[in-house]
Amino acid sequence: MADGARRNPLFRNLTAKLAAVPMVLTALVVFAGGTVWTVVYSFTSSKLLPKLKWVGLDQYERLWGASRWLVAIENLLIYGVLSLVLTISIGFMLAVLLDQKIRFEDTFRTIMLYPFALSFIVTGLVWQWLLNPEFGVPSVIKAMGWESFELDLLHDPKIVLYGLLVAGLWQGTGFVMCIMLAGLRGIDEDIWKACRVDGIPRWKTYLFVIVPMMRPVFITTLVIVASGIVKLYDLVVAQTSGGPGNASQVPAMYVYDYMFQAQNLGQGFAASSMMLVSVLIVLIPWAYLEFGGRKRG
C-alpha cells in the first residue's frame, strides 16, 4: 500500500523537475561548462583550434604586457564609470521629470525609449554620422555662426570615448528611465506627503529620501547597465572600430580579435577569463546585497 509511505523524494513533483531540465542544462552545460572550458583553454597555447597544449600562465603574462589590452581596460574603466554614473543619473532625472504628473507622458516616454529598440550597430552608425565634423552636428553649429566651434568627437583620441558615450547614453537612458519611473511609482504616496508637511523642498526630498529608498531599484539598474558595459562591443565596432588608433578599444574587441583574427584562441580565452573575473567583481557584491540582504530581511 503506497498510502502514507514516503515516496522517494527525487520523484516528488517530478513534472516540475522535468520542466526545469532545460534551465539546468543551460546553466550547467552552457554557462558553467562553457566558462570552465574557456578558463581551461586559457592555459593552453591553442591557436586556430583548441588544443590542450599547456603553457601555464604565459597567455596571461602576455595579456598584461600588451599595451592594447591595457588601453582597452583603461577605456572600459573610464567609459564604464562615466556611463554608469551618467546613465543612471540621467535616467533618474528623466524619470523624475516624467513623474511630475505631466501631460503627454506617454509620448515623452516613447520618445525616450525608442532608441532602446534599435541595435547598437544602428546606434553606432547614426552617431558616427551625426558627430561627423564635416556635415554632422558640429558643422551645423558652425553654420549657425559659432565659427570657432571645433568638436571632432570621433577622431580625436582624447575625447573619442565621449563620442561613444553620447551614443551609448542615447540608446540606454530610456530604458533606465523606465525602470526608475516604475521605481518612483512604487514609492509610498505618504512619504511625499510627510515631506511636504515637514517642509522639505522637492529636490531635497528626491535626494535625501527618495533616492535612498529606491536603493534596490538602483542596484538592479546598476547591474543591468554594468553587464551591458562589460559586454560593450557592437557600439564600438560600428561607431569607431576601436579607433582612432587604439583610442577606443574595449576588452570585448580584444577578445574577438585575438580569438578570430590573430587566431590565437589561448590569448582570446585568457582575455575573456579576465573579463569574467571583472564580471565576478561586479556580480558578487550585487548577489550579496540582493540575496544576502533578503535573507536577513
Partner: protein, 387 residues
C-alpha cells in the same frame, strides 16, 4: 551543383570581379551561391572558421593564403586538391611558385590561388601636383619632400584609413621600400633579430614616423574612402595595395594621366606577393566534391584569371596569360613580377598572431606620437615571440 562560396569581396571593383568567377562557374552548369560577408577579412574569417569547425562548411571559401588555414588543414577539415593541381599542371604555370608553396602542406595542395596582391604601392593624384605647379613625385623621398607644399595648399599629403590593417600595410610597404629586399628577407625569412634591431630598420621606422605626420589630417575609416580622397584630389597620395586601382577604374580615372602609381613606393621595385586563394572544406557529398574540384580548376584557368584580375585590378597567378588590356599600373606590376623581384607576403612568413600584434603596434604607432625607437624595440619583441 550548388556550391556556396564565401568571401569578403564586396567593394565595387571586387564585386565585379567575383561576378566574373560566378559567371564562369555557372556557365559550366553549376551554381555559384554567393556568400559575401561585408567588412573585411577580420569580420569574415571568424565566421568562416566557425562554420568549418562547426560542421556546416561552405563549398569554398576565400582565405589569404599562408598560415591562416594551416590548422584547418592539419585538422583534416580541408579537401586535398592535389589531383586537380596535377591534372592542370599548376606546378609549372603558377608564378611565382611561392604562391603554390603556400598552398602546399606535406606535399599536398589544399588551395587554389586566384590572384596576386602587392601592397607596396603609392598612389598619387596628378591633379594635386598640377595645381601646385610642381612635378609629380617619382618616389617616396620626393613625395615626402613635396609634402609641405601640399599641406600649405590645404590638402592632405597622405590619405590613410583608420582600419588597423591599413596602418600595418603602410608600414610593410615602407619597410620593403626603405630597407630593401635583402634586409627585409634577413629579418622576415631568416628571422635575424639583430638586423631587425639594427640601423637599417631604424631608418624604416624613421620613414614611418615621417609618414605619420603627413597622414595626421586624414580621418576616414575605410580604405576606399581614403582612395576616394585621392581620386577627388583632396589628398595627394595614399599607400595602398594594387586593388586600389579598381577604385580608380570605377571612378573612370586613367593611370598615368589622372593618377600615378609607384610600385615599391618608387624606391625599390620589389613587390611582396600575397594574394587570395580559395580553400575547399571537406564535404561528405561526392557530387559536391566533384564540383569543388571543377571550381578549383576553373579558378586557375587562364580565361578566368584574365577576366577576374582585370576587374579586380590584381595580378594573375600565371605568367602565361595575355593581359593586353591591362592598364599602365598593372603592367608595371607584371614587369616586376616577371623580373622576379618579389618577396613573400607577411601572411606566409609570420603567424596570424604575430601579424595581429604587429598590427596593434602599428595602430598605436600611427595614432600616437610614439618615438620611432620605442616602436622598433616593441616590434622586435613581437617578432621574437613568434620565433
Amino acid at each position: 551543383v550548388d556550391l556556396e562560396v564565401t568571401h569578403w569581396w564586396t567593394s565595387g571593383g571586387e564585386a565585379a570581379a567575383v561576378a566574373e568567377l560566378a559567371k564562369a562557374f555557372d556557365a559550366s552548369g553549376d551554381h555559384w551561391v554567393d556568400g559575401a560577408i561585408a567588412g573585411s577579412g577580420g569580420t569574415a574569417r571568424p565566421i568562416m572558421i566557425s562554420r568549418i569547425t562547426g560542421g556546416d562548411p561552405m563549398g569554398a571559401t576565400q582565405f589569404n593564403h599562408g598560415q591562416q588555414a594551416m590548422e584547418l588543414v592539419e585538422a583534416g577539415l580541408m579537401l586535398d586538391i592535389t589531383d586537380v593541381a596535377e591534372a592542370n599542371n599548376w606546378k609549372s604555370i603558377v608564378n611565382p611558385p611561392s604562391l603554390l608553396d603556400a598552398c602546399t602542406i606535406d606535399g599536398k595542395i589544399y588551395c587554389a590561388p586566384v590572384n596576386i596582391h602587392s601592397p607596396e604601392w603609392l598612389w598619387i593624384s596628378n591633379k594635386v601636383y598640377e595645381d601646385l605647379g610642381i612635378p609629380v613625385p617619382q618616389n617616396w623621398n620626393e613625395f615626402v619632400a613635396s609634402a609641405p607644399q601640399v599641406e600649405a595648399a590645404g590638402k592632405i599629403p597622405l590619405a590613410l584609413g583608420g582600419q588597423p590593417w591599413q596602418s600595418n600595410l603602410a608600414f610593410g610597404a615602407i619597410s620593403v621600400a626603405v630597407a630593401g629586399l635583402d634586409v627585409w628577407k634577413k629579418v622576415n625569412v631568416d628571422k635575424d633579430m639583430d638586423v631587425a634591431a639594427g640601423p637599417e630598420y631604424a631608418a624604416v621606422f624613421k620613414a614611418a614616423a615621417d609618414a605619420r605626420k603627413l597622414a595626421a589630417k586624414s580621418n576616414v575609416q575605410d580604405w576606399n574612402q581614403a582612395t576616394n580622397l585621392v581620386i577627388t584630389d583632396q589628398a595627394a597620395a595614399q599607400i595602398m595595395g594594387d586593388w586600389a586601382q579598381g577604385e580608380f577604374a570605377v571612378a573612370g580615372e586613367v593611370a598615368g594621366k589622372d593618377y600615378t602609381c609607384l610600385p615599391g613606393l618608387g624606391l625599390n621595385a620589389y613587390l611582396s606577393t600575397g594574394g587570395d586563394a580559395f580553400y575547399f572544406p571537406k564535404l561528405d557529398d561526392p557530387e559536391k566534391e566533384a564540383a569543388q574540384k571543377r571550381l578549383a580548376a576553373l579558378l586557375v584557368a587562364p580565361e578566368t584569371q584574365v577576366a577576374f584580375n582585370l576587374k579586380k585590378g590584381s595580378l594573375p597567378i600565371r605568367g602565361d596569360v595575355d593581359l593586353a588590356t591591362a592598364n599602365d599600373c598593372m603592367k608595371k606590376g607584371l614587369e616586376i613580377l616577371a623580373s622576379g623581384n618579389i618577396v613573400p607576403s607577411g601572411d606566409m612568413v609570420w603567424s596570424a598572431d604575430v601579424q595581429k600584434q604587429i598590427e596593434d603596434l602599428m595602430v598605436e604607432f600611427w595614432s600616437s606620437d610614439m618615438p620611432a625607437e620605442d616602436a622598433q624595440a616593441k616590434w622586435v619583441e613581437i617578432l621574437k615571440s613568434g620565433l
